[in-house]
Amino acid sequence: MRRRNRAIYAPLWLTYLFFYVPIAVMVVMSFNSSDAPFSFEGFSLKWYGTLAQNDNVLQGLVNTLIVAVSTTVIATVVGTMLAVGLARYTRSKILEALGTLPAILPELMLAVGLIIFYSTVQFTLGLHSVLLAHLTFGIPLVAVVVRVRLASMDMSLEEASRDLGAGAVATFLRITLPGLMPGVAAGALLAFTFSLDEFVLAFFTAEPTQPTLPMVIYSMIRFGVTPDINALATILLVVSFTAVIAVQRMTRLTESFR
C-alpha cells in the first residue's frame, strides 16, 4: 500500500523539476563571475552592478512603476466597487459577464481592439494609454478576488449593523469594507504583479520611446543572451514570489480551489 502511495507522487516531482530547474539555472547564472553566459565560473554580484548602470533598464523600470502603481490604485478602488455592486446589488448575468469577460479574452485581442480604438478617437499614446490598457485586465482581476472574499463573508454582521440603526454608508464603511480588506489587499497585489509583468498590451499601446520594463526585457532577449538579463530576471522573480506568498497569507488563495 505504502509503495503504491509513493509512486503516485512521481509525476508531481517531475512537474516541479520541469517548473523550477530552468528558473534555478537562471538565478545561479545571475551570480556568475564570468561573462560566459552558460558556464558557472565563480560567485560575483557584478551583473547586478551592470544592471544598475543600464539606463534603458532604469528608465523602463521607472515607466513600469508609474504604470503599475496607477493601475493598482485605480483597479483596486474601481474593482472593489464593482465586486460589491455585482455581489450585493444586481443579479444580472449580463453585467456579471461584462465584469469578467475582459479578463478571459486573449490579451492580444484586447491589445488589437485598443490600438484600433485609440486610433479612431485619435488618442495620443504614452504611459497613460498603457495604464488604460492595464485597467481592462486589472479591474476584473481585483473584482474576482474581492468577490471570493465577499462570498465567504457573514452577511449577518451587515444585517445586525442595519438593524441597530446604522445607515447604509456607515455599515459599508465600518463593517463591509474592513471585512473585505484581505481580499482588497490581495487583489491589489495581484493587479500590481500583473501590471509589472505585462508585455502584450504594453507592446501594442505604448509610445515606443517610452517602453515599460517588460518591453525593454523583450528587446534585450531578442538581441541575445547577456548575463545582466539573469540578474534582472532574478530580481523580478523575488518580487513576484514575495507578492504571491503575501497574497496567500492574506487570503489563503489556495483554499479557493477546494
Binding site: 444585517e159 447604509a168 522573480l237 504571491v244
Partner: protein
C-alpha cells in the same frame, strides 16, 4: 430548508427603492463604464474594421468591402491557422497528460503540504512570462546547459539545434500554461467524495477500474475547463513563437501582430482576430457548459 431561510432574510433586510438604486449605480457605474469603453467598444470597432479596405498608413478607408474575408481562404493563412491549432492542441494534450497525475497527487497529500504544493504550482504562473521563456533559451541554446550536459556524457559530439522549432514552441507554451491545467483538476479531485471510491472498491473493482469508472468521469468536466484555460492563451500566443520559434510567423498570433505593427493592414488583422475570437468563444461556451456540470455534480 436553512438555505431558504437565509435567502429570505437576506432579501427582506436589503435596503430598497431609490437608495438601493443609487447605491447600485454608485458601485457599478465606474467599473462597467471603464470596461465598456476599454474592452467592449474596441471589440465592436474591430468587428466593423473587417468590412473596410486598408488605409495607406494603417487605419481604414471607409468603403464597404468583403475582400478581407476572401483573403482568409488563402491556403497560406488557412495553413497558419491549422498549424496554430495543432500546436495549441499538442500543448493542451501534453498539459492534460502531465497535469492530471500531478493534480491527483497533490490531492492525496496531507493538508499541510497541500498548501505548499499548490503555491509551488501557482508561483511560476505569476512570474514574468518573458523571463520564464528566457530561462529556456538559457538552457537550450547552442552553448547552453542541455547541450553541455549531453556532450559531457558523450551522447553527442556537436551541439544540437534545440531552439527555434515547433517542438520548442510547444515546450515554451506548456511551461507557460501547465499551472492552469493542474489547478482545476486538483479542485475536482479534492471535492470527490471518498466514499464513492470506497464503495467501488468494496464492490470488488480493482483500483484501475475504480479510477476509470468513478474518478475519471467525475473529474473530466474540470479537465475540460483546464484544457480551455491552456488552449486559449496557447492558440493566441505570439511571444513564444517569436522568442523560441525564431521569429518565423508560424502562429495566428504572429500573423495578427504583423498585420497591425508591420504590414499596417489593420482590416485584415481584424479579420484574422475574428477567427481567434470565434474560436475563443466556442471554447468558452464549452467551458461554461462543463463548469455547470461541475457545480451540479
Amino acid at each position: 430548508m436553512s438555505g431558504n431561510l437565509t435567502k429570505a432574510s437576506e432579501t427582506s433586510r436589503r435596503p430598497r427603492g431609490w437608495g438601493r438604486a443609487a447605491a447600485a449605480a454608485f458601485f457599478l457605474t465606474p467599473g462597467l463604464i471603464a470596461l465598456i469603453v476599454l474592452a467592449i467598444v474596441p471589440m465592436i470597432l474591430m468587428l466593423t474594421y473587417m468590412f473596410f479596405p486598408r488605409g495607406r498608413f494603417g487605419g481604414v478607408v471607409y468603403e464597404f468591402t468583403l475582400e478581407n474575408f476572401e483573403r482568409l481562404s488563402d491556403p497560406l493563412y488557412l495553413g497558419v491557422i491549422g498549424d496554430s491549432f495543432v500546436i495549441a492542441g499538442t500543448v493542451t494534450l501534453l498539459a492534460l497528460l502531465i497535469g492530471y497525475p500531478a493534480a491527483y497527487a497533490i490531492a492525496q497529500l496531507p493538508p499541510r503540504w497541500k498548501t505548499i504544493a499548490l503555491l509551488a504550482i501557482m508561483l511560476p504562473f505569476w512570474t514574468n512570462f518573458l523571463i520564464r521563456i528566457y530561462a529556456w533559451i538559457v538552457l537550450l541554446s547552442g552553448p547552453g546547459l542541455v547541450n553541455g550536459a549531453l556532450t559531457g556524457i558523450g551522447l553527442i559530439d556537436e551541439p544540437l539545434d534545440l531552439l527555434y522549432n515547433e517542438g520548442t514552441i510547444v515546450l515554451g507554451l506548456l511551461y507557460g500554461y501547465l499551472s492552469l491545467m493542474i489547478l482545476p483538476i486538483y479542485s475536482a479531485v479534492e471535492k470527490l467524495d471518498p466514499r464513492l471510491r470506497e464503495a467501488s472498491a468494496n464492490l470488488g473493482a480493482s483500483p484501475a477500474r475504480t479510477f476509470f469508472s468513478v474518478t475519471l468521469p467525475l473529474t473530466l468536466p474540470s479537465a475540460l475547463i483546464g484544457a480551455v484555460l491552456v488552449f486559449v492563451p496557447s492558440f493566441g500566443n505570439y511571444v513564444v513563437p517569436e522568442l523560441l520559434g525564431g521569429g518565423k510567423a508560424i502562429m495566428l498570433g504572429n500573423m495578427i501582430r504583423d498585420q497591425f505593427l508591420k504590414a499596417r493592414d489593420w482590416p485584415f488583422g481584424a479579420t484574422l482576430s475574428l477567427v481567434m475570437i470565434v474560436i475563443t468563444f466556442i471554447l468558452l461556451i464549452a467551458q461554461a457548459v462543463a463548469s455547470r456540470r461541475v457545480r451540479n455534480a
